[in-house]
Amino acid sequence: VYQVFESVAKKYDVMNDSMTLGIHRVWKDILMHKMNPSPGTLLLDVAGGTGDIAFRFINYVRSVRERQLQRKLRHHQNLSWQEISESYQEDKSKPLGDSQVVVCDINKEMLKVGKQKAQHLGYSEGLSWVLGNAEELPFDDDMFDVYTIAFGIRNVTRIDLALQEAYRVLKPGGRFLCLEFSHVSNPLLSRLYDLYSFQVIPVLGEVIAGDWKSYQYLVESIRRFPPQEELKAMIEDAGFFKVDYQNLNSGIVAIHSGFKL
């Protein structure tokens, strides 16, 4: 797994865009809306190398926080100017409302690309980058509010261990969210999808990233991955409750969600 992503890291984002025709952005946005994080949420994004989910999280929380502050200001009709300016100061200093995201990835190269992107796009606070293995996370128990793994769980050798680790590091009431390629049930769409995956994607891989093998591996790992119901059972086995999944694009991608209660 490590070698595959080492070679893939730099061109990762470009390949994502071309393979999914840019739809992966929509998938990630939907994931963020489903999460609906409130300011003060602590997010752990595993296998989140280049930071897509992390940046979306920060944007979302920032806009929710702005709306919150606007509402507070509207209620300040009756206060004196002194009090208003005081509360304005302390709110201004917390534009994210204490929300934080920790991006954890097994691969240094992916993290490096992520950090560069963050600098380039101007994200400075609320972000941490940690090197770690999903099967053995370097964090304490009961730390995070939300754990996400977007297009990463497929590459984990022991999925059950990763799920158990997710359970461990989540606070009680915390949420597990997994965005991953999954099983298409519609037979017509399934055939078109197979055609596209096996014929087009490795070619794109060769042309854009100069790497046929890695993208062949990618497509095969998607096929080998357990389908929606099976993954749901595995998540329940790890101890999560209210486990559910939502199919996007009729099964090409699925979001699984579970709570630690």
Partner: protein, 293 residues
């Protein structure tokens, strides 16, 4: 609340509660729990809520040791705790998140509910209806024991509707928002259900014995009275909502007199019909007698 558990699940529950206490035992419990889960659905029939395909429960370590509750009960607790944040945040996922925080859960637990706050509102409405039923039940007991006078119907209805509407007072600023959310298509079945069962309750305790067409008219009338009074209350700014209660009194009086008018119409109609019949008989008698002569 305790569930009746059979021993194998008890070990599983113990693991859920104690997992935070002892980490060393984590490995063994997790592996045993994985085995237990497969026998889960078959063993567990005596679960409180029969709804979910996988009846499940949670261990709440902390205050009450070894107190197990179902997901649904936990959800109810979160929603109840969220109610105190409604005046500040409105009927939103934020209020639910704050409620979850007071219970010691992560704010992400609000993700269990719909993001528009529907469940919170429905929970509140059903809580109010239950309180109303209990109130009416107690009043009825007092009447049966002879400690109180049985109220005339219009007085009874006025008091019942007023009692129910007064429960909205702490949340009245955000109630219009709640009403509009209850009117969303996906909420209409549940909200309509709650409304009709509440009206049913009130008529039941008012001593409604009818099983005929009147049953429907009475419910329709009272539903109309309730809804209009609720809307008037939203924009009432008089002290202690005097204007609303006066409006309510007038509407209930209208409803009562409407019932009387209906009866009057019926009896007048009968009288008219009898008159006509008599006239017809007289005419035919006169005709036959003339024929005989």
């Amino acid at each position: 609340v305790r569930c009746q558990l059979c021993p194998p699940q008890h070990a599983l529950q113990a693991s859920a509660v104690l997992r935070r206490v002892s980490d060393e035992q984590k490995e063994t419990f997790i592996s045993s729990s994985q085995q237990q889960f497969s026998s889960h659905p078959t063993d567990h029939q005596s679960e409180q809520e029969p709804q979910g395909p996988r009846p499940s429960y949670t261990g709440q370590g902390g205050q009450e040791s070894e107190d197990y509750e179902s997901e649904e009960q936990l959800q109810h607790r979160i929603l109840t705790a969220a109610l105190e944040f409604v005046p500040e945040h409105g009927w939103t996922a934020e209020a639910i998140a704050e409620g979850a925080k007071t219970l010691g859960l992560s704010v992400a637990a609000a993700g269990m509910f719909h993001s528009d706050g529907s469940e919170l509102i429905l929970h509140f409405v059903s809580q109010c209806n239950t309180k109303l039923s209990e109130l009416l039940e107690q009043e009825q007991k007092l009447v049966q024991l002879g400690e109180a006078e049985k109220k005339p119907t219009d007085q009874f209805l006025r008091d019942a509707v007023q009692a129910r509407l007064r429960m909205l007072i702490p949340y009245i600023d955000k109630w219009p928002q709640a009403l509009s959310i209850l009117l969303l298509p996906h909420n209409i079945p549940s909200s309509l259900n709650l409304l009709t069962s509440m009206i049913d309750d009130i008529w039941h305790y008012a001593g409604d014995q009818s099983t005929d067409f009147n049953w429907y008219t009475r419910r329709a009338v009272l539903t109309g009275v309730y809804n209009t009074t609720e809307l008037v209350m939203m924009q009432d700014s008089s002290p202690d909502f005097e204007d609303t209660w006066r409006f309510l009194e007038n509407r209930v009086a209208d409803a009562m007199s409407m019932g009387n008018t209906a009866n009057q119409v019926q009896s007048t109609g009968e009288a008219v019909v009898q008159g006509l019949m008599g006239a017809a008989v007289t005419v035919s008698n006169a005709g036959t007698s003339r024929a005989v002569r």
